[in-house]
């Protein structure tokens, strides 16, 4: 969901663009991050943890925690919370996290 009116801020959104989340076409805006665009589309589960397949989404939104990693245009482990959204981007869930005891 997007904030339409705000008492303090005004949001100057960029051009509307298309992108894909696990093959599904979604709309976002130029200038926002992949993570913000997913959230605005009601997508909270980005990927799954490697071993227990627990859902993962945004935690820190500033590139510090690795909870939001996804495969973007074929490149795995992209921090979607700080990566700008581009027209036609293919964003896919992946298994994230390292197993320490293996």
């Amino acid at each position: 969901m997007r904030i339409q009116n705000h008492p303090i801020l005004s949001f100057n959104r960029g051009k509307q663009i298309k992108f894909y989340y696990n093959g599904k076409e979604l709309i976002g805006y130029e200038g926002e991050t992949i993570g913000a665009a997913l959230y605005a589309n009601g997508v909270f589960k980005f990927s799954e943890s490697k071993k227990l397949h627990r859902p993962r989404g945004i935690f820190c939104a500033i590139g510090h925690c690795s909870s939001c990693l996804m495969t973007v245009d074929g490149v795995p482990n992209v921090r979607t919370c700080i990566t700008p959204l581009k027209d036609g981007m293919k964003v896919e869930s992946q298994n994230i996290g390292v197993e320490i005891n293996e």
């Binding site: 969901m1 997007r2 904030i3 009116n5 705000h6 008492p7 303090i8 801020l9 949001f11 959104r13 926002e32 991050t33 913000a36 959230y39 605005a40 909270f44 589960k45 980005f46 943890s49 627990r54 859902p55 993962r56 989404g57 945004i58 935690f59 820190c60 939104a61 500033i62 590139g63 510090h64 925690c65 909870s67 919370c81 700080i82 700008p84």
Partner: protein, 543 residues
């Protein structure tokens, strides 16, 4: 081998401390390169929609986002500053060579001096299911809603009642998100009381001596189980309750981001009062390594105002060392900065910082006076609940009821000693005084106050009200600050609430001051039945 670029000063981090540091040095002719890992400057300032506390000299009363605009403007205009965006510092080596990654390319720099203003990261909290989507750090919530205009959720449970937790809760409400409650493990509220009171007036419960046990939900948060804690922080039996929410926001503190400093083998030490491992440093912000300075949260967790002053001190210290002229003037400005910092830290809320600094072996200046720390009022009830006690209020009201007969007068509902003075500075009639120290509690001189209402929009804590008791035979008027949408219309009937967010009565909007001067904190005059003039402190407009 790529060639190494020589620099006079490298500032790492484009937040309030880094920007201030770059400006301070560049203004004395130092060539500065400012590296920021994001594609824009501002650090956490970019999310701060509220007005800042602190002293007028350092932008108090101005919204964080507006302070940022000014700083960025100055940086862009300054020919001595080169801004390196999307530039992540990856390494710093023993010979002081720094590697920076930009657009998949690695570059090497050899700076004569470095100021690290890398800020802090959020602390985490252990509880069952704490990895579910919908559990955020407070900063993430702010980024989503204030930077990108995206609602993080519809109903949030806030964990932690420090200033960040309180401020973000208020910002959530402004964005149209419900806040189910604020949960605080300590027996008292961590942040400033004015922030807490603001939320209570809006009906948000603050549950001190409570903690979260687990998050509920499969794919994302659907609720949370919280419980009460006793004085020893143990769970009280049978106090579990289920809170419905679709997000849990963690605001349990910050810790300095010292990784790069450690890489360079800067001496660090653990100081809990400052948030964790912090670099040893002197009063000029220089670390154990010569020409390597720090500023802002990386040197210890404090407010943004302090971070900006520290940045200035670090920048000026570099200018003093490598600059050729103006040494006397620079020295004077460094002294001024230090005095300003001391003043900010001199009250009771600065006690923790002072203790932390003393563990770093830093000398307390002449402005520190530990005796001053005693609270002037007993605010234990206020700090437990966010609502001032009868006693607190009595202390701030005119001693004689007949003062209310003379006309509208300002009531300051600010009961805590902390560094803040926009109310004092805003009053054109000098009717508000803090007795010379910014940490003192402001008192209104009812003789001088004309009830003009200017202070209502200027107080960052929304703690100033104007009360006109005898507006008519049967009604009073209260001027209240208002920072929400929709804005009320003149003549509209609104719901009026008390300090705990309880419905009192209906009121009629008779005047709205919402111009440039009010800067989005409207001052709204509401006419109410006379018997509520000392209780009515908030209102809501029906959508």
């Amino acid at each position: 081998m790529s060639k190494i670029e020589n620099l006079e000063l490298l500032v790492v981090g484009g937040g309030p401390a880094g920007l201030s540091a770059a400006l301070a040095a560049a203004n004395y002719g130092i060539k500065v390169s400012l590296a920021e890992e994001r594609e824009f400057l501002g650090g956490q300032l970019i999310k701060q929609t509220h007005r800042f506390f602190g002293s007028e000299k350092e932008y108090a009363g101005t919204r964080g986002i507006d302070i940022l605009r000014k700083l960025i403007d100055e940086v862009n205009k300054n020919k001595n500053i080169e801004v390196l965006l999307s530039s992540r510092v990856l390494g710093i080596y023993e010979d002081n060579v720094v590697t920076i990654l930009n657009d998949h390319k690695m570059k090497k720099y050899y700076p004569q001096s470095i100021i690290f203003a890398t800020g802090a990261s959020e602390k985490f909290l252990a509880f069952e299911n704490n990895d579910l989507p919908g559990i955020f750090g407070a900063g993430a919530v702010q980024t989503l809603m204030n930077v990108y205009g995206v609602m993080p959720a519809t109903n949030v449970l806030m964990i932690g009642s420090g200033n960040i937790g309180l401020i973000v809760s208020y910002q959530l409400l402004q964005a149209g998100v419900k806040v189910a409650a604020i949960v605080e493990a300590a027996p008292k509220i961590g942040g400033y009381s004015v922030h807490a009171s603001k939320l209570r007036r809006l009906g948000v419960p603050i549950l001190t001596s409570h903690t979260i046990k687990k998050a509920i939900g499969k794919e994302k948060v659907e609720g949370a189980v919280i419980c009460e804690l006793d004085n020893d922080w143990n769970e009280v039996k049978d106090t579990e309750q289920l809170i419905k929410c679709d997000a849990i926001c963690l605001s349990v503190g910050l810790t300095p981001l010292v990784d790069l400093l450690k890489q360079r083998k800067v001496k660090t030490t653990y100081v809990s009062e400052l948030g964790g491992y912090v670099p040893l440093r002197d009063e000029n912000m220089e670390t154990s390594i010569k020409n390597l300075f720090v500023a802002g949260d990386v040197s210890g967790i404090e407010e943004a105002t302090a971070a900006m002053i520290e940045g200035q001190i670090a920048g000026l210290s570099v200018a003093k060392r490598i600059g050729k002229n103006n040494k006397k003037e620079i020295e004077k400005r460094i002294e001024e900065g230090k005095n300003e910092l001391e003043l900010l830290r001199s009250g009771p809320v600065g006690k923790k910082i002072r203790k932390g600094l003393s563990k770093l072996g830093l000398n307390h200046g002449k402005n520190y006076n530990e005796n001053f720390s005693e609270e002037a009022l007993d605010i234990s009830h206020l700090m437990k609940t966010g609502v001032p006690s009868e006693e607190n209020l009595k202390n701030k009201l005119p001693s004689e009821e007949k003062v209310f007969d003379k006309g509208p007068i300002a009531i300051s509902e600010c009961f805590q000693r902390f560094p803040c003075d926009p109310c004092v500075k805003s009053c054109p009639f000098n009717a508000i005084s803090e007795n010379g120290n910014i940490n003192n509690i402001p008192y209104v001189d009812f003789e001088k106050c004309t009830g003009c209402g200017i202070c209502v929009s200027k107080c960052p804590g929304l703690a100033m009200f104007v009360v006109h008791k005898n507006f008519s035979e049967t009604t009073s008027v209260v001027i209240m600050p208002y920072e929400f949408l929709p804005r009320p219309h003149k003549g509209e009937i609104v719901k009026v609430f008390d300090r705990e967010g309880k419905y009192l009565c209906d009121g009629k909007v008779i005047r709205i001051l919402d111009g440039k001067f009010q800067d989005k904190t409207a001052a709204v005059s509401i006419e109410i039945p006379k018997r509520y003039y000392l209780q009515a402190r908030n209102f809501k407009v029906e959508e």
